[in-house]
Amino acid sequence: MATVRLSFSPAPVHVRTARLVGVAVARRAGVAEELLDEVRLAIGEACTRAVALHRQYGLADLVTVEMSDTESYTVRVIDHAPIEASVGLTKLPPDELADESLTDEALTTGVGFALLAGFVDDLQVRPVEEGTGTEVRMVWPVARR
C-alpha cells in the first residue's frame, strides 16, 4: 500500500500543485494513460470546490488530498466547511446555463459538479467521519504490475 497525503492552505494557486501531484501518483499507480486527463480535471475540480468553500466560510484550515493505490487509485479531497454547503450540488440543464439570473458562483459550482460526475464513474460525496466537512472520494482502476 502506498499513500501520498498533501495538505494545502485554501488558496487557488495551490490547486495546480494538487493536480500535478495527483496525476504523478496516478501514473505511478498504474492508471491508464488515456484516463490521466480526466484524473487531472477531477482532482482539480474537487480541490477548487474545497478552496471555494473554505474561502466562502472564512476558514484557514488546510484542504487535504489523500491518494492511495491499495486496490485501485483512490483520491479523497477533504474540506472542513459546514455540511449544508454541499447541498445543492446538481447538474444544471442547458437552458439554465446562460440564464441571466444565474450567478457566476452558482454556474461554476453546477458546471464543476457536472464535470466531476461526468468524468468519474466511481464518485462519492459524503460527510467526513470526524468533525465538520465533506469528503469527495474518486476511484479509478489501475493495471496491476
Binding site: P12, V111, A114
Partner: protein, 124 residues
C-alpha cells in the same frame, strides 16, 4: 504552464488567443481581459482555445460571463476549439449547446459575420 493571452483583429472581429492553463488561479486574468475588451468597444469577440492545455469549471464560468456580457451589448461571441479533450468538457457540461464552437478562427469570423448580415443578432 501559465496563462497566455494575445489579442488580434481578424475581419472586424477581436480574436483573443488563449494558451496554457485556465483554472481557478488564472481564470480571473482571463475574465479581466475579456471585460477590458468589451469595455473598450469590442462587440464581435472570438476566443481561440487552440493552445489551451487545461480548462476547468472556473474558466468555463468566465466564458459564459463573456457570452452574457456580449449578448447584453448586442454583440457576438464564439469559441474556436478543435481538441477532443476540451470538446468533451463542453459536451459533458452541455455548454456545447450554449456556445457556438468552431474548428478555426476563419470559420468563427465567417459564421458570426453572416449572422450579423442576416439580422440574426448575437450568436448562441
Amino acid at each position: 504552464m501559465e496563462l497566455s493571452l494575445a489579442t488580434r483583429t481578424v475581419d472586424g472581429h477581436t480574436v483573443l488567443e488563449v494558451g496554457g492553463e485556465v483554472d481557478v488561479y488564472t481564470a480571473p486574468k482571463l475574465r479581466e481581459r475579456l471585460v477590458e475588451l468589451v469595455d473598450a468597444g469590442a462587440r464581435n469577440v472570438v476566443v481561440d482555445l487552440g493552445r489551451v492545455e487545461f480548462l476547468d469549471s472556473t474558466g468555463l464560468g468566465v466564458l459564459v460571463g463573456a457570452l452574457k456580457r456580449l449578448r447584453a451589448a448586442s454583440g457576438t461571441f464564439g469559441l474556436v476549439c478543435a481538441k477532443e479533450p476540451l470538446l468533451k468538457i463542453f459536451r459533458i457540461t452541455a455548454l456545447d449547446q450554449v456556445f457556438p464552437i468552431y474548428a478555426s478562427v476563419e470559420a468563427a469570423t465567417t459564421a458570426t459575420a453572416s449572422d450579423e448580415r442576416d439580422g440574426r443578432g448575437p450568436a448562441a
